[in-house]
C-alpha cells in the first residue's frame, strides 16, 4: 500500500536561535542600565569615523565602549581605541554580518554595569545585518552623501528596520552635488517618520544634535 504524504505544521522561525540570544542580551543590557546602539551601513560610509567622534565626545561625561565587526583586520578597533574608550574587535571571517551570539562572546569579561553606552558597529553591508537582532536599543543606519540619494530605495529592508538615519560626510555634499531633499524623500518613503540627522564626523558638524538625540533616548527608554 502506498503511503499518502501529509502536511505537518511546525512553525519554527529560521532565526529563532539568534532571536533567543538577542532577547537575552537585551535583558542583560536593560538590567545593567547600558544603552546600546548598533551602526549599519555599506562599507566606506563612515561608520568608524562617526563612532570615533561619538566616543571621543561622550567620553568626558559617560562610560562608553564599542564592539566593532569586520571580516578581517583589527584596523577599526585600533582607530577607535584612540578615543580612549574600551574597544573590542569581532572578526567574522567570511560572515557578512554580526549575530547575537558573537556579541555575547565579545562581551565576556566586561562588566556591563560599568557602562552607560555601548556601540556595536556591524560589518559594512546593507543586506544581511537587517535580519539579525543583536539586542540593541537603537539601530542607526548611515548613508554617506557620496553614495547617492537612492540607497534607501535600493536597500529598503535595512532602512525599514532602522530607528534613525544619519547622513554622513555632509562636508562633501556640495562637491558631489548631493540632493538632500531627494535623500530625505527616499528615507521617508521606505520608513515614514524616521528621524534623519546630518553630520560631518570630520568637521564635527551635526554631532551636537546626534549626541542630544542619543542622550534623550537613553534617558527616556
Amino acid at each position: 500500500m502506498s503511503s499518502q504524504p501529509r502536511l505537518v505544521e511546525v512553525r519554527q522561525n529560521v532565526l529563532k536561535q539568534n532571536d533567543i540570544v538577542a532577547r537575552e542580551l537585551r535583558q542583560r543590557f536593560h538590567d545593567a542600565g547600558v544603552y546600546v546602539a548598533s551602526l549599519v551601513s555599506s562599507p566606506g560610509s563612515g561608520k568608524t569615523a562617526f563612532l570615533e567622534k561619538t566616543l571621543t565626545l561622550l567620553r568626558p561625561d559617560f562610560r562608553v565602549a564599542a564592539l566593532v565587526g569586520d571580516l578581517a583586520t583589527d584596523n577599526d578597533a585600533v582607530r577607535l581605541a584612540r578615543s580612549q574608550a574600551q574597544v573590542r574587535q569581532i572578526t567574522t571571517g567570511t560572515l557578512c554580518h554580526l549575530e547575537a551570539a558573537m556579541v555575547r562572546t565579545a562581551l565576556e569579561g566586561w562588566d556591563l554595569n560599568e557602562l552607560d553606552f555601548l556601540f556595536i558597529e556591524n560589518v559594512g553591508n546593507l543586506v544581511c545585518p537587517s535580519s539579525y537582532d543583536v539586542g540593541e536599543n537603537l539601530r542607526v543606519v548611515l548613508l554617506s552623501v557620496t553614495e547617492g540619494e537612492d540607497k534607501p530605495l535600493k536597500y529598503p529592508t535595512i532602512f525599514n528596520t532602522a530607528d534613525v538615519a544619519v547622513l554622513t560626510k555632509m562636508d562633501l555634499a556640495e562637491a558631489v552635488e548631493f540632493d538632500l531633499d531627494a535623500a530625505r524623500a527616499n528615507v521617508e518613503r521606505v520608513r515614514p517618520g524616521m528621524p534623519l540627522l546630518e553630520v560631518s564626523s570630520k568637521k564635527g558638524v551635526g554631532m551636537d544634535d546626534w549626541l542630544a538625540f542619543l542622550r534623550h533616548l537613553s534617558r527616556t527608554r
Partner: protein
C-alpha cells in the same frame, strides 16, 4: 531545523519543506532555492523540495484604522488613503511553516 523536526517525529521521510518568506525578511527567494539542494546533500532532507510561500508586507494604517497590504517595499504608503504607514504587522517572516512527510 526541518531535519530535527523530522527526527523528532520518528525519522519520517520529508518530501517537502514549506517556508514562509516575508518581503522584508532580507532574504531572496532565488538564493534560498538555489542553495537548498546543496544544503540538503548528505542530510535526511536530501531529495526534498523547498516550497516558498511569499508573504507580502501588511501594515496598520493609522488613518484607515486597519490592516493594509503595501504594494512595494520601496514605498510605505497606504493603498487606500495614500498616507505614510510605518507599523509593520506582517512581512518579516522567515519561518519553516510545515513539513510534507510520508508515513
Amino acid at each position: 531545523m526541518a531535519e530535527e523536526e523530522a527526527d523528532h517525529r520518528g525519522g519520517l521521510r520529508v518530501n517537502a519543506v514549506h517556508l514562509k518568506l516575508g518581503a522584508l525578511a532580507g532574504v531572496v527567494k532565488e538564493a534560498l532555492l538555489s542553495s537548498y539542494e546543496l544544503a540538503c546533500e548528505g542530510t535526511g532532507l536530501q531529495g526534498s523540495r523547498l516550497v516558498i510561500d511569499e508573504i507580502p508586507v501588511v501594515v496598520n494604517c493609522p488613518r484607515c484604522l486597519g490592516p493594509r497590504t503595501v504594494d512595494s517595499i520601496q514605498w510605505f504608503v497606504c493603498p487606500e488613503c495614500k498616507g505614510p504607514v510605518s507599523e509593520v504587522i506582517q512581512g518579516r517572516e522567515l519561518q519553516v511553516f510545515a513539513l510534507e512527510i510520508e508515513e
